[in-house]
C-alpha cells in the first residue's frame, strides 16, 4: 500500500477549508478594526499587517491541508490519510463497518460536497470521517459498503 493509490479529495474542499479558516480568523480582524477605532491610531497601522497575515493564512494553510489529505477505496477497504504534524493513515475494511453517515455541513452544501462517516465497533476510531467528497462520490461509496456488508452476511 503506497501513497500512489490515494485519490485527492474534491477540489472544492480546498475552498471550503479556506472559507472555514476565514470564518475562524474573522474575530481577529474585527478585533483589529475595533482596536484601531478605540485607540484612534491612523487607519491601517494595525489592520494592514493583520490583514496580510490573515490573507496569507487563508490562502496557504488550507491548500497545504488539502494536499495532505487523500482517500482510497480499493480492495474493499476505506483508507483515509491526513495531516503532516499529526499525520494519520487509517484503514477500515468495508466488512467492519457498522453503519454509515453522509453528512453535509452548511458550507459543504453550497459546494455540493459531503462528509462520509463510517462507524465501527472498535473503541479507537469508533467513527472515521472522510470530508470533502462530492455528494455523488460519498453516496457511491456508501452504496458500495452497504452492498459489501449485505453480500457477506448472506
Amino acid at each position: 500500500m503506497t501513497d500512489d493509490d490515494l485519490s485527492r479529495l474534491d477540489r472544492r474542499h480546498a475552498t471550503v477549508l479556506q472559507i472555514e479558516t476565514a470564518i475562524g480568523i474573522a474575530p481577529l480582524i474585527v478585533g483589529a478594526i475595533v482596536a484601531e477605532l478605540v485607540l484612534g491610531w491612523p487607519t491601517g497601522i494595525v489592520i494592514g499587517p493583520i490583514a496580510v497575515v490573515a490573507l496569507a493564512l487563508i490562502l496557504s494553510l488550507p491548500m497545504r491541508r488539502y494536499r495532505r489529505k487523500g482517500y482510497a477505496t480499493t480492495g474493499d477497504r476505506l483508507r483515509y490519510v491526513q495531516g503532516w504534524i499529526r499525520h494519520s493513515d487509517t484503514v477500515v475494511p468495508f466488512g467492519r463497518v457498522q453503519h454509515i453517515d453522509v453528512k453535509q455541513g452548511l458550507i459543504e452544501r453550497w459546494f455540493g460536497l459531503a462528509t462520509l462517516v463510517v462507524h465501527t465497533a472498535g473503541m479507537h476510531n469508533a467513527s472515521v470521517a472522510v470530508p470533502g467528497l462530492s455528494r455523488q462520490t460519498a453516496v457511491d461509496i456508501r452504496e458500495a459498503i452497504s452492498a459489501r456488508i449485505r453480500r457477506e452476511t448472506m
Binding site: M1, G75, D76, R77, W84, I85, R86, H87, S88, D89, T90, V91, V92, P93, G95, R96, V97, Q98, H99, I100, D101, V102, K103, Q104, G105, L106, E108, R109, H119, T120, A121, G122, M123, H124, N125, A126, S127, V128, R142, S146, A147, I149, R150, E152, T153, M154
Partner: protein, 510 residues
C-alpha cells in the same frame, strides 16, 4: 384521543420515504417548551433587576413560548424523513446541515421503544435502533405511532432472521442457558489469600470521607489547624519523654497496625466481591457467578469475547498468581472488561483462555521490541524541555525551582529506559499480543480478525526517525503500539488487514 386518517404513503409503498407521525410536532413543541421555561424565567428576572423596556421582554418571552417551540418542532418534523429499504434503514435529518444515515439490517442489534409522559398521551413512541457502537451513536426516530414502531421492530427482526440465528441478546440468555461445566472456581481459602494480596488503604479514604460528611457531629472542627497543633504538641511532648526504644516500638506498632488494617480491608472487599466465585463453560459461552451479599450472575457468549488480558502484581507474581479478564463490548459494571479469573495460577488461566479460543502466548514466542529511537527522542524531548524551563526559572530569579525542574526533567527522561525495556509485541497464529510492564507484566491478546480498523500515526520527528504509532480498533478495548519501526508497523497492519479480509466477524456482538 384524536384519530387521523391513515397516511396513504405508508400503505402504497413500504419503501418510500416517509415522515414521522405529525403528532410528534405536538410532543416536540411541549418538549421544547419545557426547555424554554428556564430561560424565560431567567430573562424576566434579569429584566426586572435592570431597566429594560417591558415591551421588549414581553415580546421575547412570547416569542420563546409561542413561536420558537412550535416552529422548531415543525422544522424538525418536516426535515426528518426515513425509509425502510430492502437492505437498510435510511434516516435523513437536519435543516441547514443535512445528515443522511444508513444502517444495514444486519448491523442492528435490537430495536427498543421508549415513551415519555407526553408521547404516551398521544400514543407515540421513540424508536431506537441499537448498533454495536455503544449507545452514543444509536439512531433514534422520535416519534412514530406504536403500530409503526412495532412494524419497524418486526421488520428488523425478520430481516435479521435470514441470517443464522441462535445468538440473541446476552442478557436474556441467562435463564435459558442451563448449568454448564465449571472450569474455574475459587474456594474460600483462595478468596481469602487473594484478599491478602489486594492490600488496600482505601478504608482510610472512606473513613476520611465519612468524617468529612459528618464533621458537624464531631466534638471539634477537623479543619481547624489549631486543634491538630495542640494535639501534636501534647502528644509530642509525651512521646519525647518516652525514650528511644519506646519510640521505636511505638513507630513499629503503628506501621504494623496500618498494614493489618490494609490487609483486613483488602480481605473484606475481596470476600464481598469474589465469595463463591464460579466460572462455567456453557453451551454458548461462559457464565460467572460471584459475590457474598449481592450475588451477580453474568453470561458471556463466547463469540462476544474480543480479546483477553492477563495482569499480575509485583509480589503476587513471585507466588505465581495472575488474573484473567475478557474484553468484550458489554461492560461489567463500571469496568469495561469481564474478570473471569481474578486470582489463578497460569495453568488455570491457560485453560480458560484456550476455552475462549484465544490461547496464551507460547513459551518460545518471538517478542519484538519497540524502536529505541522512539525512547531516545522522548528522553531528548524531556531533557530539552527541562533545560529550557530551568533557564527561564533562573532568569526569573528562582534558582531553587530551576533545580526542581531539572530533577523532574531528568526523571521523565530516565523513564525512557524502562519504557523501552517493558514494551513488547508479538504475532502468533493469527493473534496479536502486546505486553507491557517489567516486574508485573500485563498482556493483551487479540485475534487479528476481531480488529475493526487500523490507524498509523506519525509526527514529523517520527517520520524523520522512522517510527510510528499503530492503533487498532478493538470492540470494548484498546490495542495500541507506540514507537514501532515504520516498516514493521506497515507490515503488521498489512498482515492484520489481510486476515480481516478473509473473514467477516463484524456482526459478532449480537
Amino acid at each position: 384521543m384524536i384519530t387521523l386518517p391513515p397516511r396513504p404513503t405508508a400503505i402504497d409503498d413500504p419503501e418510500a420515504f416517509r415522515r414521522t407521525d405529525s403528532l410528534s410536532m405536538l410532543v416536540g413543541t411541549i418538549t421544547q417548551l419545557r426547555r424554554a421555561i428556564l430561560p424565560v424565567v431567567a430573562l424576566s428576572f434579569g429584566a426586572s433587576t435592570r431597566d429594560v423596556g417591558t415591551g421588549i421582554v414581553l415580546a421575547a418571552a412570547l416569542l420563546a413560548i409561542f413561536v420558537l417551540p412550535p416552529l422548531g418542532a415543525f422544522l424538525q418534523w418536516h426535515f426528518t424523513r426515513y425509509r425502510t429499504g430492502a437492505e437498510d434503514i435510511r434516516i435523513e435529518r437536519g435543516v441547514l446541515s443535512r445528515e443522511a444515515r444508513s444502517i444495514p439490517y444486519e448491523r442492528i442489534q435490537d430495536v427498543s421503544m421508549s415513551e415519555t409522559l407526553f408521547s404516551r398521551l398521544f400514543g407515540l413512541v421513540e424508536v431506537r435502533f441499537e448498533t454495536g457502537s455503544g449507545g452514543k451513536d444509536d439512531l433514534t426516530l422520535s416519534y412514530v405511532t406504536r403500530p409503526e414502531g412495532q412494524r419497524l421492530r418486526d421488520l428488523v427482526r425478520e430481516r435479521r432472521d435470514d441470517v443464522p440465528t441462535g445468538a440473541c441478546s446476552g442478557a436474556q440468555e441467562s435463564e435459558s442457558d442451563s448449568e454448564g461445566v465449571p472450569i474455574f472456581t475459587m474456594a474460600l481459602p483462595r478468596v481469602l489469600l487473594s484478599g491478602v494480596f489486594s492490600f488496600s488503604l482505601v478504608i482510610f479514604a472512606v473513613l476520611f470521607a465519612i468524617v468529612d460528611q459528618f464533621d458537624f457531629l464531631m466534638p471539634f472542627d477537623i479543619w481547624d489547624k489549631d486543634v491538630w497543633e495542640q494535639l501534636a504538641s501534647e502528644q509530642g511532648a509525651r512521646i519525647q519523654s518516652l525514650g528511644r526504644l519506646a519510640q521505636f516500638w511505638g513507630a513499629l506498632v503503628a506501621v504494623i497496625m496500618l498494614v493489618l488494617v490494609g490487609i483486613a480491608s483488602g480481605v473484606a472487599k475481596t470476600l464481598l466481591r469474589d465469595y463463591g466465585f464460579r466460572l462455567d463453560r456453557t453451551a454458548k459461552g461462559f457464565r460467572r457467578r460471584r459475590g457474598l451479599l449481592s450475588r451477580t450472575d453474568v453470561v458471556m457468549p463466547a463469540h462476544r469475547v474480543q480479546a483477553i488480558a492477563t495482569e499480575t502484581g509485583v509480589i503476587r507474581r513471585l507466588f505465581g498468581w495472575h488474573s484473567l479478564s475478557f474484553v468484550s463490548l458489554a461492560s461489567d459494571g463500571a469496568k469495561a472488561s469481564h474478570e473471569v479469573a481474578p486470582f489463578a495460577k497460569l495453568n488455570e488461566i491457560a485453560r480458560i483462555a484456550a476455552e475462549a479460543g484465544i490461547p496464551l502466548p507460547a513459551d518460545g514466542i518471538a517478542w519484538h521490541r519497540t524502536s529505541p529511537r522512539f525512547w531516545i527522542d522522548r528522553a531528548a524531548f524531556w531533557l530539552l524541555a527541562g533545560t529550557v524551563a530551568a533557564i527561564v526559572a533562573t532568569w526569573l530569579g528562582q534558582p531553587l525551582s530551576a533545580v526542581a525542574i531539572v530533577c523532574v526533567g531528568l526523571i521523565l527522561a530516565g523513564l525512557s529506559l524502562p519504557g523501552y525495556l517493558q514494551h513488547r509485541h508479538a504475532t502468533e497464529g493469527g493473534r496479536i499480543q502486546g505486553r507491557a510492564g517489567l516486574l508485573a507484566p500485563h498482556v493483551m491478546i487479540a485475534p487479528q480478525v476481531r480488529l475493526q480498523s487500523a490507524e498509523l500515526r506519525q509526527g514529523p520527528i517520527a517520520r524523520l526517525r522512522g517510527y510510528a504509532a499503530l492503533h487498532f480498533g478493538l470492540p470494548g478495548g484498546r490495542l495500541s503500539f507506540r514507537g514501532l519501526p515504520t516498516d514493521e508497523a506497515l507490515a503488521l497492519r498489512a498482515a492484520v488487514l489481510a486476515r480481516i479480509d478473509a473473514v467477516d466477524y463484524s456482526d459478532l456482538p449480537r
